[in-house]
Symmetry: none
Subunit: 261 residues, 2 copies
DNA sequence: AAAAAAGTTCCATAAAATGGAACTTGAGTT
DNA sequence: AACTCAAGTTCCATTTTATGGAACTTTTTT
């Protein structure tokens, strides 16, 4: 086993709730001998992957990683485009917008735009949530053929709330609705009182796929506002799909898309 | 030489003009044997540091690096970052550097780095000085809209010296200059014979704002040295602003920022 | 001041990286 | 369809690096 994989294991220890690590953290998180943990952290710092916090024994990701991570957005230009679209929509409607990607059955937030409203949904970049139980996840899963979704969830799943799909059949039914309507919606699934609307779009040249999502407190949004959000998302995604020539793009159903007076 | 350092060399190949790399790129950029380049890129992808673009032979940074890089922003608090920047600059120029925050119409020093020169400005951490009559204060006030400054100073103020702003209008005029030039300057205000140059930067996620200041005896600094200080401060603050995505950041005016021959 | 926890260094052994050359793949050309 | 050249991959013996247990040092807590 290469030291590279140990180094990556260290990087995976970082999360929105763990901004830095110590030798002991590695020992307990990765079951690594103390000697290795000590040398590995030092080596990673010497190479510039990590930096020490002040002159303590705590290690955090380095500026280099910050810079390289930033390049991901441009390398995956789909993300960049989606981000600017969701940023504009978030500004318009005042609610939190974010874009996410799917990794297997998980969804990972990539960029976020906090809303303007006093009551706003806060998302944490980098956290993983279950794909089947979120609007972003279902927007992305709707791009897959049904048998591939069945294969992904061959092991079944545990619904986190009453409003999430309770079994595979319900998930497939809701994906069918998403394919017909052109958007996915969630309510009280990951977070109580929070509603979210998502659409998805892909780039066939790179194989990337992203979800664009607007998330808002269920109580404060009128039916008209909700419709406006759906239309903005649909239009934004359609613009991107036109650019990338996305063959899997699911447009809004004409009855929803038609322009308001 | 560990494979770790080779992997970091690969990461350093990425830049705003190079979003992905190939085996050949590494051969020419790093002078690495083809065999190593090929295995290294594959290993880095297998471990999750890189991902292939579509199914081409091009490699780009991975989502993992994007996530970890993102954590840097939270791991290094604004004050921490500003302190390390001002420490470096203070070392470079030999003069006293400090960082401060604003509380209403007062400025409070948070950390200080004493200079190396025999004649040095001494600051005391925790002391409060008037914001309107200091370069740090004006650097921070320049981030506010004009009417908010008017509201802060609705009760008027008493100038401590001839070179400090004498009334609200003069203060506003000097803030306008700071907004245009990207830095604030004071001379003989709080202490006679002392000149100070400040820039400011904020972190929108925490709402923190700090001023970075270099303070020196007016008599001992040449115009060239003064310009170098302004540029160092401007560059340091710009780095921090890029990290925090500070929307209020005031960059140096291009005519000042431009690199000396 | 003692005790406990955290971190570092040392060592022989086990494992992985190296670079040259041969081999395979793929894109463009005749 | 066969050819050509560039790009990428695999193989191998040798050299270099990583490993984990234990002893040691430093830091923190009681």
């Amino acid at each position: 086993m290469s030291i590279l994989s140990a180094a990556v294991d260290v990087l995976r220890c970082f999360s929105s709730t763990r901004h830095d690590v110590t030798v002991t953290d590695l020992v307990s998180l990765l079951g690594m001998p103390k000697s290795n943990a000590s040398r590995l952290l030092r080596a990673m710092r010497d190479e510039g992957l990590l930096e020490t916090v002040g002159d303590s024994k705590r290690y955090r990701p380095s500026l280099l990683l910050n810079q390289v991570g930033h390049i991901y957005r441009f390398a995956a230009s789909l993300i960049d485009r989606a981000d600017s679209v969701i940023g504009r929509i978030s500004d318009e409607v005042g609610h939190t917008g974010y874009i996410s990607v799917r990794r297997g059955t998980d969804i990972v937030g990539v960029t976020a735009h906090p809303g303007r409203h006093a009551l706003r949904v806060v998302t944490s970049i980098g956290d993983r949530i279950a794909a089947f139980a979120s609007s972003t996840g279902r927007a992305l899963l709707a791009r897959l053929p049904e048998d591939e979704v069945r294969r992904l969830y061959a092991g079944g799943f545990v619904p986190p709330s009453d409003t999430a799909p309770q079994d595979l059949d319900e998930l497939l039914a809701r994906l069918a609705v998403t394919r017909r309507e052109g958007y996915a919606e969630s309510h009280d699934e990951a977070v109580r009182g929070v509603r979210a609307i998502s659409v998805s779009v892909g780039d066939p040249t790179t194989g990337d796929e992203v979800a664009l999502c607007i998330s808002f407190p269920a109580a404060t949004v009128t039916p008209e506002e909700r419709l406006a959000i759906i239309r903005s998302l649909g239009e934004g995604a359609a613009e991107i799909a036109a650019l990338t020539r996305d063959p899997l793009f699911i447009p809004l159903h004409p009855s929803i898309a038609e322009t308001a007076p």
